[in-house]
């Protein structure tokens, strides 16, 4: 198991995470920022548990994020 962490407030809505890992991310039609699916928020940081096989796509999303607000732990 790994954890994806998303500092959502700083998202600029570029859509890269959704392109790379569509099963884990979607764009909010409300505020134009990306949403980490199934995540829980704590002090502005959204986190979601993922299985080992999903680490790769999320790491790609993290690497592509222009504002570096996605972390995999």
């Amino acid at each position: 198991m790994a954890t994806v962490i998303h500092q959502r407030e700083k998202c600029i809505g570029c859509n890269y995470c959704v392109e790379l890992a569509p099963e884990h991310w979607k764009m909010s039609k409300k505020d134009g920022k990306s949403v980490l699916l199934g995540a829980i928020e704590k002090k502005g940081f959204w986190s979601s548990k993922i299985s080992e096989q999903d680490v790769d796509v999320n790491e790609k999303a993290a690497k592509a994020c222009p504002v570096n607000i996605i972390q995999i732990r």
């Binding site: 809505g13 570029c14 859509n15 890269y16 505020d31 134009g32 994020c65 222009p66």
Partner: protein, 414 residues
Amino acid sequence: MNKLKTIELMAPAGNYESLMAAIQGGADAVYFGVEQLNMRARATMNFTVEDLPRIAKLCDDNGLKSYLTLNTIVYDHDLALMKTILEQAKNAGITAVIAADQAVISCARQLNLEVHISTQVNITNIETVRFYALFADVMVLSREMSLGQMKGICEAIEKEQIKGPSGNLISIEVFAHGALCMAVSGKCYLSLHSHNSSANRGACVQNCRRRYKVIDLEEGNELEIDNEYIMSPKDLCTIPFLNQLLDTGVQVLKIEGRGKGADYVRTVIGCYREAIDSYLNGTFTDEKVNNWLAQLETVYNRGFWGGYYLGQELGEWTDGAGSKSTTKKVYLGKGNHYYNQSKIAEFKIEAFPLEVGDKVMITGTTTGIIETTISSLHVNDQGSSLKANKGDLCAFPLDVPIRKSDKLYKIVSQ
């Protein structure tokens, strides 16, 4: 003929401090972005929609126009946010929206919100002006126009009486001062290619400002081209030929710099205010120009050139990575109290020492910018002293109030 017209000086407001500095400097209008749909989306401190009423009121109270920049490219997932921002701007009484994408232009018009066409649209001819006159009252020309081309467009608007939705003649706006980049009207994909970070979404990482080598792949020789930053132009400065620029008939001068500090805004706006007023009352002289240039050099700059306006050949590249400003500010401490009756400002020194004779700057979201020289100093209630060190509470006379969150800087030459 043009001298009868009013000239509007438009200042960048990346935060409340800069907004106050723009007001103090004598700007006629400010532009600012909210949320992520503006060309400074990467900035750590962006305004939000909740700030719109306060910004509108501050501008109204001080007789300034307020312009919301909503000029990135817009995706489907941005549409709801874009509409919300425009509706809130309309409700708050923001003067106009600066737009590039047709979706933004269309929605703003549906709300009867005044539209200005962003430089991102790259307007370079009168036919395009005729087209956008159906939607907009102010148009920013491409940064790559010559003075002659600007004049042609301004004269054609007057001659053909091209009017915007307000019923007034179209006003032409141009960049007057600040950063330029190597791409045509900022339409650059370098940052997107190298860092997935699109300049057209306000996320430019400014990798053009770095130094590059050219490698000859056949022989492996590395060339450093005259040690120059070949993709990083110097900053635009039009003050030496502001009279010629205003003679073209342009009516709005934009100062770039939403990512820069309040001291930058205060100094640059102050200089251009004086320059415009001198032009209008016929006292624009070389001596004044030299004085303004010396002041402009004290704040962030990459060296100055006249951009493309004078039709110069390319090659005005900067020879440094950062600023060439002649002064810098050093953080000393923060505001503690202001004694209204005795007009004494008290600060807590948290970093470097403050001494009598120091030139200082105080900044704050309400205070804006104050510059003064320390004539006398009281330290820790122990009476007068020549120096206040880290940890000390110190006080000095100041005609205007300061606030608890204000920051105290010392201005030093470099």
